[in-house]
Symmetry: C2
Subunit: 229 residues, 2 copies
DNA sequence: CGGTTCTTTGAGGACCATCAATACGCGTGG
DNA sequence: CCACGCGTATTGATGGTCCTCAAAGAACCG
């Protein structure tokens, strides 16, 4: 069957509850594209012709202004982007590039809007997805506005350590230069912030982060479900 | 008729296209509440029992952490808050307080979710509203991450000047201390930033902002529809 | 291997926060 | 009307955080 190519996304929250008919309508015009690493696939300001879904690989969302740029988010399978622009039929607010080789599923915005009108289960799923995105953006804003750069890094380390199973170590999923930008600091400062975390139970060796003393780290980071949750 | 009290919000984007039946269901359990100035009406972390709509007055959304706080947004009639928490049935991420005496319409979250399930026009309106909120949050993040504090102020002034009709002057809608927090700077620094804007065609007298040379201001602010739009 | 890019470290400076003191605005009550 | 008190706004002095610039070391890749 034609839509077999897209079975991998059928069970995503965005599509799990919609009818087979709606899913078929969404995937009929969709296609899969492979991108090599470090390719800019979306440029901010362009019209939002497709909803994108990360099937494999890793994507960086970033934004530029006056010859400086800043990382806004990193996406992994099966995150979607950029739903809001698709729905509103407005230009992208962020650019997107591959961090590594990635496979992307692209669904025409037209089809999204059509099915959205017809299938209320899909509309509901979109609402939930958007609400999650919005709340994520607010959390990130609080993170930047309320915490120092060292605290942001400490919380980043604590969060990813837990996410990786609290095994005492984890690999940074992106290079440090991008992480620095994501955390609103320079690469130089990130180095110094990592050095400062040694006093709080964290050691660094390349992209491998060792958490020697999780409690000590948490005591410093003071993670908060309303920012990091 | 019972729902007459709420005619003022019937034509809001969120409700304009929904059926009379749905609107009645939403307003049946709703009520209007008056708040004096400087009252904290919502505390972050609390369950989101109501969708709030500003009927009159002015509301500040802010967030606290480790005995510091930061303004996230200012709301005017007829802005809504906080839709995402209501939909997701999660706790508020931000606190809200009145800036001035305000009248607030409150609709039980339960009713929002019920009508949301039944009326796809309402679901669609919510999607649009959420998409706008999300894009607004992203723009604000870009503003903070990509511009200096003086540039943020310059763009704030330029934007509000245009919004007020480009008449050469406008009144600040909030006190400077709150504006400073909103723009991620201290009150002292805001003073100095205003002083710096004198070189770019802006003069200040109390809460009255005079734009002597709009082109000069724009040349410095470099407003961008993907950040300020 | 050689070139490229990223990371780290150091020195200096810009920006911004903090602290402190003064000035201003405004409402209250004398 | 003026004195007073309170909160806010401004201004100056100082210090800390963070950025910039520069250079060396490390990792990556052809």
């Amino acid at each position: 069957m034609h839509s077999d190519r897209f079975q991998e996304i059928r069970s995503l929250p965005l599509f799990a509850d919609i009818s087979d008919e709606s899913f078929a309508a969404l995937t009929r015009g969709a296609y899969v594209q492979n991108f090599p690493p470090h390719i800019e696939m979306i440029t901010e300001g362009d019209p939002a012709d497709f909803l994108h879904i990360v099937a494999s690989g890793r994507i960086e969302l970033f934004s530029s202004w006056d010859r400086s740029e800043s990382s806004i988010a990193f996406l992994k399978p099966y995150d979607t982007f950029i739903l809001a622009a698709t729905i509103k039929d407005r230009p992208y607010l962020m650019s997107a590039r591959t961090v590594e080789k990635s496979r992307i599923i692209m669904i025409p915005s037209e089809d999204i809007r059509t099915v959205f009108e017809r299938d209320s289960d899909f509309a509901k799923a979109i609402v939930v997805e958007l609400a999650i995105c919005y709340r994520g953006a607010i959390k990130q804003m609080k993170n930047i506005k309320l915490r120092s750069s060292a605290e942001r890094l400490a919380n980043y380390v604590a969060k990813h350590h837990k996410r990786a199973g609290s095994t005492g170590s984890f690999e940074l999923p992106v290079e440090k230069r991008k992480l620095a930008s994501f955390l609103s600091m320079t690469p130089e400062n990130l180095s110094r912030a990592f050095a400062a975390l040694r006093d709080h139970g964290v050691e660094v060796s390349g992209s491998l982060i060792l958490i020697k003393d999780p409690e000590k780290l948490d005591a410093y980071a003071k993670p908060n479900s309303l920012i990091d949750g």
